[in-house]
Symmetry: C2
Subunit: 356 residues, 2 copies
DNA sequence: CAAGTTGTGGGAAGCGCTTTCTCGACGACG
DNA sequence: CGTCGTCGAGAAAGCGCTTCCCACAACTTG
C-alpha cells in the first residue's frame, strides 16, 4: 500500500502502517465483516469451518489485533477495571495492586491505575476522570478521613457510576454504603493487644493517623479493647497522631521520645510503614528497639520480615485483598459472601516480651 | 425515563440509568451535536458564548462524562499508556510505576498496568493483548534474559506497534534497538567497588541473577572493573547465581555460607531486594551482617534505609526512571536527550569498613 | 410434496464520538 | 446597493466494531 509498487515485496503486512482492521481481514479472507467478527470473538453463532479457517489465516497474516476501544463502543461495555490507591510505591498498596492485577488477568480484564496521593479532592477528580473510561469495576483502596467535606460528593459520584451499571468495591473503608472488602482491623488489633499483655507488656503507647481515618481508628479502638480486657494500660496522652506514612511514624515516635517515654514499654503503630519509621526513630535516638522499647505494627507488609528487629505485627493478606475485591465486584451478590478478611497476630523479635 | 411518571421528580438526571451521552447534552442545550462536541473539548473552532454556556450548563446538569472509548475510536488515538513490569509488589517496580503514573497524570494520560511475572512468554502475550488498547505509549521495565528465544518475537511485535504509531520505551534493558531509559549500572557498580576497596575491603563475593540478564551482568561487570582497578579480589567461584528476587538473595547467600566464606569480607548483591535476602540469610546463620560479613546492594529502594544494618547501595532514582520513560516516549526525539541516568554510591552501616 | 425448521452468510443499522463540508447570516467595501 | 469574506451552526459522513434482521439453502415432517 505504502510502498512504491516496484520491487519485490513479500511480507505485505509489515510495510503497512495503520494496524489491520476487521474490514481488512474480511476482505483478505473474502468474507463479510459479520462473519469475520463472528469468527474472531466468541459469538454464539456458528461459522462454517471453511470460512472460519480462512478468517483465522487472514487475521494471522495481517497480524490483526482487535481495537478494544471500538469493541467497547460497539458492545457498550469495556473490559477495564480501574484501581485507585493512595500511593503506588507504598508496599501496602502495591501488594493490593498486585492482587488486583493478578485476578484481573485471570478474568481477562485490563487494569488501569491511578494514585490519589491521599488527597480527597484528587480522589474525587480521578473518579470523575476514570468514569470516562466506563470501567466495569472501580476499586478504591485506602481510607479517607470520614470528616472530609468532599466525601458526600464522592459517594454521589460512585452511586451515579453504579446506577450506570458499574461496580464499586472499597477495600478496608466501610464508611460508605457500598460493596466492601472488610478487614477485621478491630479484632486483629484486639488479639494483638491480648498477646502482648500475655507476654508481659503493661504500659503502651500508640502512634496512629489523623483523626477520622477509619482504618486507623478501628485498629486503635480494637487495641484499646484488648488492653481493657486484659489489664494493659494506654493513657490518652500516649496516643500520638501523625501522617499515616513511614515519615509520620518516624516523627510520631520522635515526639514521643522527646517528651520522654515515661514508662511506656511498647509502642503500637497503626500500620507497618509507621512502625518501620518508629523503629528508625528509636534507633536514631540511641535506643535499641525491641529491648529498650518494643514496637508492633499492623499489615505484615513483606519487608517487615527482613528488618531488625523483625516486626511483630498483625498479618493482613494484602494480595488476597486485591483478589477478593475484584472477585466481589464480579460476583452476582451484593454482599461479600466470604465475610470479613481474617487477620493473624505474628509475634517477632520487636516484642521479645517482659518477664515479670 | 425509568420512573413511573407519577410523583414529583426533581433531579431528573439521577433517575436515569445509562450515562448521559453527548447527544443528550446537545438536546438538553438545544444545540447540535457538533456544537456540543466543540464546546466540551478543546476544538480549534470557536463557539459563541451564548451556546457555549448553554452546553456547559447542560453537561453539568446531566453529569456528562465523555466516553473515552468513543473518543478514541473517533479520533483514532487514545490517551492511554501501557506499563509492563515484572512484579508490582517489588519495590523496584512499584517505585518506577509510581513515577510513570505521576508523570502520566500531568500529561492527562491514563496508565494501564500488567505484570509479566518474569515470564518472557507472558510478556509477549501481554504486549499482544495491550496492543489492542492502541495505547499511545508502551513502557517495559525489567530486563529479560538476552538468551530468551521469544526475544525476537517480542522485538517484532514492538516494531509493528511502533510502525502503527505507538511509542515504546524500555527501562534499563538496552538489548533491543528501541528507545531506552538507560541506567549507568556499570559505572555505578564500578564506583561502588572503588569506594569499598577504599574503606578497606579486599575479598569480595557477588550474588547475581541468571546468566543473560543484562542489568545484572552490567552491574557485575562494572563491579569487576572497579575491583580490577583498585586491587580488590573477586574469584569466579565466589560469583553466585540465583533468582533476581529477595528469595534468590537469601538462598544465594545461604549457599555461600554453607560452602564457607573462605575469607570473603563483603558480598555484593546485584540488587537491593537480593541484598535484603542475603542479610536475612546471614542473620539466620548466626552471623552479624555488617561486622562478620559486609553486604552491599544496588538500587536504593526505599526500605533499605530502615533495615539494620542500613544497606550500602548504589542509588538509582527509581521514580525518576518512570518519569523519564514517559517523557522520552512523548518527546519528539528518538534518543534520550537527558543521557543515561546517573547513580550515586551510598555508604551505610552494612559496610562499616575494615581498618588495615 | 408443501410447509415448516434449522443453520449460516451478509447487509446494514447503530454504538458515542469527531470533523469535514455546506450554508445562512452578517459586516465590510467599492 | 451588490458582492465578497468571514464567522459559526448544523448536517452528515465516518472511526472500527457488533448484532439485528433478512435471505437462502438444506433438512425435516406429516
Amino acid at each position: 500500500m505504502t510502498d512504491s509498487g516496484i520491487g519485490i515485496d513479500i511480507d505485505i503486512d509489515t510495510s503497512r502502517n495503520a494496524p489491520a482492521t476487521l474490514h481488512d481481514v474480511a476482505r483478505e479472507a473474502g468474507v463479510s465483516l459479520a462473519t469475520a467478527s463472528r469468527t474472531l470473538n466468541g459469538s454464539t453463532r456458528r461459522v462454517k469451518d471453511e470460512y472460519r479457517k480462512r478468517v483465522l489465516e487472514a487475521a494471522a497474516r495481517l497480524d490483526y489485533s482487535p481495537n478494544l476501544s471500538a469493541q467497547a463502543v460497539a458492545r457498550g461495555t469495556t473490559t477495564t477495571v480501574a484501581l485507585l490507591v493512595a500511593d503506588i510505591a507504598d508496599p501496602y498498596f502495591s501488594s493490593i495492586a498486585a492482587g488486583v492485577v493478578a485476578e484481573a488477568d485471570t478474568a481477562h480484564l485490563i487494569v488501569t491505575m491511578a494514585a490519589t496521593e491521599r488527597d480527597p479532592e484528587r480522589e474525587l477528580e480521578l473518579v470523575r476522570t476514570l468514569r470516562g473510561q466506563r470501567p466495569r469495576v472501580m476499586i478504591l483502596a485506602g481510607s479517607r478521613p470520614t470528616t472530609d467535606p468532599t466525601g458526600g460528593a464522592l459517594v454521589e459520584e460512585l452511586r451515579a457510576y453504579e446506577r450506570s451499571g458499574g461496580r464499586v468495591v472499597l477495600i478496608s473503608r466501610n464508611e460508605l454504603a457500598l460493596r466492601t472488602v472488610l478487614v477485621d482491623n478491630r479484632r486483629g488489633a484486639e488479639a494483638l493487644a491480648r498477646e502482648l499483655v500475655g507476654i508481659g507488656y503493661r504500659r503502651f503507647a500508640v502512634i496512629t493517623g489523623a483523626e477520622g481515618l477509619r482504618t486507623a481508628a478501628d485498629r486503635v479502638d480494637g487495641f484499646r479493647d484488648g488492653l481493657a480486657a486484659t489489664g494493659g494500660e494506654l493513657r490518652d496522652a500516649d496516643v500520638i497522631r501523625d501522617a499515616f506514612t513511614r515519615d509520620g511514624g518516624y516523627s510520631g515516635m520522635r515526639a514521643l521520645l522527646e517528651r520522654g517515654l515515661e514508662g511506656v514499654e511498647l509502642v503500637f503503630a497503626a500500620n507497618d510503614v509507621m512502625a518501620v519509621g518508629a523503629l528508625s526513630a528509636i534507633r536514631d535516638s540511641g535506643l535499641a528497639p525491641g529491648t529498650d522499647v518494643a514496637v508492633a505494627g499492623f499489615d505484615d507488609i513483606p519487608t517487615v520480615r527482613d528488618i531488625t528487629p523483625a516486626l511483630t505485627t498483625v498479618r493482613v493478606p494484602l494480595e488476597e485483598l486485591g483478589h477478593r475485591a475484584l472477585r466481589l465486584a464480579l460476583a452476582d451478590t451484593d454482599a461479600d459472601a466470604e465475610g470479613p478478611v481474617q487477620t493473624e497476630v505474628v509475634l517477632r523479635e520487636s516484642t521479645p516480651g517482659i518477664s515479670r
